[in-house]
């Protein structure tokens, strides 16, 4: 091949590769456009505060929205302490022993298990064996297990980012390992830990399959009012409406998607704000 032919193929290749990227982005654009077009008409205060109904035009999303918020807060309450504690152990205490390596491999595997399997786990263990029933408690426990690998991973990264010189300075004063972790390492790592938690939660809030499988309802006309209460969440409500043949319900689904996306954007914005605001300078 002559040099000019090779240059031409190189340029063509570059164009094709860029085009591929742009097609992917165009797909994203089409999705957003489609959802907004279908749903923006239905989006209203009545919709957000209303209850589901057989009549599409009267249906609202309030129980699902409350359910999602309730579940996410509970999931955070479970996943944060356990995840941070596990990460501290793996990163600060058990660094080189065999058991820790096994746990690490286990966590990596768990992060690639399909989410619906977690639903089956929740069904078998939380709903049935532990007798929680198809409750908010069982749902949050299931999602917490799903979120755990992500929380552990991002917490470990945040811990690792704390400079060793800070730890050394603490040890040299006679501090024990836990004192060093609690008084020096954790405060510095906290913004990173919270950012990781919010990222894990923003994935969990969109999860549908595990909650359907462990028994969340698809038609709920009341607000979940206790840990033992049955519930539904936004994505399941969206799924329900999408699966109906009537076009009006599709509009509801699209509006529901807009609400879900708004929630997601808010969560991610908070994560980014946290990260920027609290990224303290730790050393020169």
């Amino acid at each position: 091949m002559t040099l000019s032919m090779r240059r031409a193929t190189d340029l063509a290749f570059q164009v094709v590769a860029l085009l591929v990227l742009l097609i992917a982005l165009a797909a994203l654009g089409a999705l957003i456009f489609d959802v907004v077009r279908d749903g923006i008409g239905r989006l209203s205060w009545d919709f957000i505060t209303g209850y589901p109904s057989r009549r599409a035009s009267r249906a609202g999303i309030f129980p699902a929205l409350t359910g999602s918020v309730f579940i996410i807060l509970l999931t955070a309450a479970f996943a944060l302490p356990i995840g941070v504690a596990a990460a501290i152990y793996l990163e600060e205490y058990g660094k080189r022993n065999f058991v820790s390596r096994a746990i690490e491999i286990n966590i990596t595997n768990l992060s690639a298990v399909p989410s619906i399997i977690y639903g089956l786990l929740g069904l078998g263990v939380f709903v049935r064996v532990m007798g929680m029933g198809r409750s908010v408690l069982a749902g949050a426990s299931t999602l917490a297990l799903l979120a755990l690998p992500v929380v552990i991973l991002s917490t470990r990264e945040a811990l690792r980012a704390v400079p060793g010189s800070i730890r050394e300075g603490s040890y040299a004063l006679g501090a024990t390992k836990w004192q060093t972790i609690w008084h020096q390492v954790l405060p510095i790592a906290t913004p990173g830990i919270l950012t990781g938690l919010i990222l894990a939660l923003s994935r969990a809030i969109g999860e549908t399959a595990p909650l359907i499988t462990m028994g969340a309802l698809t038609y709920v006309s009341f607000l979940p009012n206790s840990l033992g209460s049955p519930f539904t969440v936004l994505p399941i409500q969206i799924f329900n409406w999408t699966s109906r043949p009537q076009q009006d319900f599709h509009a509801n689904a699209a509006a529901g998607i807009l609400v879900l996306m708004a929630l997601l954007l808010t969560m991610n914005a908070v994560a980014i704000w946290l990260r920027d605001r609290y990224q303290r300078k730790v050393a020169l």
């Binding site: 603490s170 040299a172 004063l173 501090a175 024990t176 303290r280 050393a283």
Partner: protein, 278 residues
């Protein structure tokens, strides 16, 4: 071309003889190593170190980079324990107690043997909290008034009080390099150690800040036993009473500073202090 072969580079000898020489110390030694070997995994980094460091003097460890002087310093407060795979063979005694013996409380050891690092490492907290931290975690904090007094005392000892007394709540990271290092010294002194280990404390500082640190070191020996690692021979000559010369993991020579720099016994020492290598 002939090379000057006098055992003394005139500069170092002069530096030493210009100082007021502390008379030779006597009495029980503060720190003693007997046949100590140190390993990073399989690699032996320190070989057969035996030394007796005396109380209330400044002892300098000198030698070319990688000779093991910092490693040996860090064995004295067991900071090397933090690095996985390290091992100590032999005895290290402080106040006649083997610090590597079973039942040694490492955290208590590190309180009594303070350390200042080459690159100052203040915590990302206020100036006050930096000094108070050591007191709090060792249960030495007392009441609020007592704590404030102790913090002030330590900052005075480190010759930093006047510069920071009006801004104790400011972040320690806002201080200059030299001030940060003095803060680290104050922090170490707050928990009332007997011994102060300093690992090239002025190597990252400008000459004026260095001078202040050196003055401080010279004054501290009245109350503490100071061991300082330095790659700067003039600094060793200025500041120390005894000097130990390390090379390739061995202790080559250990004697009073004036002797090391004017009439060393070993040829290797002589070559090093006259600048023939390192």
């Amino acid at each position: 071309m002939s090379v000057a072969t006098g055992p003394t580079p005139p500069s170092l000898g002069n530096i030493v003889s210009q100082r007021e020489l502390t008379p030779p110390a006597s009495g029980p030694c503060k720190i003693e190593a007997r046949g100590m070997n140190f390993y990073y995994g399989d690699k032996r980094a320190l070989q057969d170190i035996s030394i007796q460091i005396l109380p209330n003097v400044v002892t300098a460890f000198i030698g070319p980079s990688g000779c093991g002087k910092s490693t040996f310093l860090r064995t004295l407060n067991r900071m090397n324990d933090i690095i996985p795979g390290t091992r100590v063979d032999g005895t290290v005694l402080i106040d006649d107690k083997n610090i590597y013996g079973p039942g040694t409380r490492v955290d208590e050891l590190r309180r009594t043997v303070g350390m200042v690092f080459q690159k100052s490492n203040p915590f990302p907290k206020s100036i006050f909290e930096n000094v108070a931290y050591g007191l709090r975690i060792n249960g030495m904090a007392g009441t609020r008034t007592e704590l404030t007094e102790r913090v002030e005392q330590s900052l005075q000892q480190a010759a930093l009080w006047d510069e920071v007394k009006d801004r104790l709540q400011d972040s320690a990271l806002a201080l200059s390099g030299g001030q940060q290092q003095r803060l680290c010294i104050a922090r170490a002194l707050a928990v009332k150690p007997d011994i102060l280990l300093m690992d090239e404390p002025a190597s990252a500082l400008d000459p004026i800040a260095t001078q202040r640190i050196e003055e401080l070191v010279y004054n501290l020996k009245k109350q503490y036993t100071v061991v300082i690692v330095t790659h700067n021979m003039q600094q060793a000559a200025r500041v120390s009473d005894y000097t130990a010369f390390f090379w390739l993991g061995r202790l080559v020579e250990y004697d009073r500073t004036d002797k090391i720099f004017t009439a060393p016994s070993e040829k290797l020492t002589e070559d090093y202090v006259t600048g023939r290598f390192g």
